[in-house]
Amino acid sequence: MRFVPGSKWVVAALFFVALAIPLLTDNSYYLNMLIMVFIWSIAVSGMNIIAGYAGQLSLAHAGFFGIGAYTLGLLMVKAQMSFLVSLAVSVVLTGMVGAVVGMISLRLKGHYFAIFSLCMGVILSLVIEKWESLTEGVRGLLGIPVPKIGSVEFSTLTSQYYLILFFFVLAMFVNRQIIHSLVGRTFISIRNSEELAESLGIHAMKSKMLAFVYSTVLAGLAGALYAGYLRFLGPEIASIEHAFEMLLYLLVGGIGTLWGPVVGTALVMTLMQWLQSWQDYRMIIFGPILVLIVMFLPHGIMGAFAQLKKNQPSVLPDTTDDKNRGIERGVNDRRLAGGESDA
């Protein structure tokens, strides 16, 4: 699968910048901001897998984020389990809940799936809020211990930064490998036409299950990291508003693109920080932006970027290179559920 020339280097350079940032600054504001961007990017990239690649709009992902977060918090607070074990259990448990939800909901087509997932999201957040004997309800879950792996304590901001960067890079690596593989193509073929995919021997339900469970695992991982970082939880993290925010990040960055979730999360979160004194106006601005994006920029920033690149003759694929064969990007159709880009 072809990278837009140079983008491999851009990614590598950004990676080294990310590694070096704590050495360059100890400004806690920026580090905190970056950590939050990493965490939410992981969750949004999960939403991207199921909505952007497999074509099934899920609005339950804030709920799965909440499951991951609360599982880690509860295991560490109430069962005194270690961070790594709790993290592993959170991710596995979220995936298992995802599998059950997926088994029911993925049989539903199009709109029904979206509505179902919306209701599922409401249920998950209501359960977290109302099940006070377990989650402490609106009082919030306090006193999550500092994450510790072996003898290393992640008590400083810098150490947390590297911990979360590690999982962010891991998640993005796995995303890349999946998206640019036969597995990712299988997802896209279902998004394109489930009928065609099935007539080609693809078991659509099985592939959608894989995409959905993996996407909930990412949301759960993000939630667990969030819990370990902030060390207190309130039920609002699982609220449906967060699912809408994640959708906004995804759309701005570019749904159905590998790096869209990261770009969108970083950009919108930064903007929201700047607009903090304008807190009340946030959605007055972002609501219409969401509408404008689906109308005019259905693949968000990364989609537009890929389109620009594509229009430059210098990046025409070299047909003699087997690795690069045949992957001219087409994002020119107005489809949201269409087009795949690399940039």
Binding site: E195, I327, E340
Partner: protein
């Protein structure tokens, strides 16, 4: 090779396909013709497993496959095209074709993540298969073009290539010559003959009678979901019921 017994499909109260006995013989080109709304595509949807039949049975190579889903049918060797090609316009021909051989591969999530040896072999196999079928349908030059930028006829060829990349025994073609001109139609007929010569069994729905009469070994005629005739092109062209169904319907339509 493929056989149906009293195959029926109702949608609500509508009988789209009504008790059809039908057979596709190995190595032949079998055509299904009939006026619009005769149930031809529904019949295809049934024998390709897209819709479950209301009643009746389907056999493939002697085995009953009545309620198999379409992905299972594909794995057994029944490939199909659609009236509208359903190709993904936002991607290249090659990207579309890569998926066609996916059903013959086994790698899953982990194989793709670590790029295991088997995964790499399978990806190569998919790529080679795609190139091979493109060459077979005479569209090698299109590999890197985006589907949105190629002609209708080229899209039809690519759709056929996609069906071929599943390594089928039978290929079901739903109006492959729909919406393309006479020259292109005869090129397409050549391709279909070439497929037959390569040992494939073919079943085709088509409105272009000239093409069908030349190509088909056997023809079944459907009207309002019912099989009204079956036989060689010669027999069909002399069949009174068929002539009436066609001309009667045609004359009626022209009167408006």
């Amino acid at each position: 090779m493929l056989r149906t017994e009293k195959l029926s499909k109702y949608f609500g109260g509508n009988q789209a396909v009504n008790s059809v006995d039908f057979q596709i013989n190995q190595g032949e080109i079998t055509a299904i013709i009939g006026p619009n709304g005769a149930g031809k595509t529904t019949f295809f949807n049934l024998i390709s497993g897209l819709h479950p039949p209301t009643s009746g049975k389907i056999f493939f190579e002697g085995e009953e496959v009545t309620n198999k889903r379409s992905y299972e049918m594909a794995k057994m060797g029944i490939a199909r095209t659609f009236q509208t090609t359903k190709l993904f316009a936002g991607a290249t021909v090659m990207e579309n074709l890569m998926i066609g051989h996916r059903l013959r591969t086994k790698s899953g999530f982990w194989g793709a993540v670590i790029r295991s040896q088997r995964y790499r072999n399978e990806e190569r196999a998919c790529r080679e298969k795609a190139l091979q079928v493109l060459e077979f349908v005479g569209a090698s030059a299109l590999a890197n073009r985006s589907v949105a930028s190629i002609s209708q006829e080229e899209q039809k060829r690519v759709a056929i290539a996609l069906a071929l990349s599943t390594d089928p025994k039978i290929v079901l073609l739903d109006e492959p010559a729909g919406g393309i001109n006479a020259d292109e139609t005869s090129n397409l007929a050549e391709l279909i003959t070439k497929m037959k010569n390569a040992g494939l069994t073919i079943c085709i729905i088509e409105h272009k009678m000239q093409m069908i009469m030349k190509l088909a070994d056997r023809i079944m005629v459907l009207n309002q979901g019912i099989k009204i005739a079956e036989g060689t092109p010669d027999e069909i062209s002399r069949n009174e019921t068929v002539i009436e169904a066609y001309l009667g319907g045609g004359a009626h339509a022209q009167a408006h």
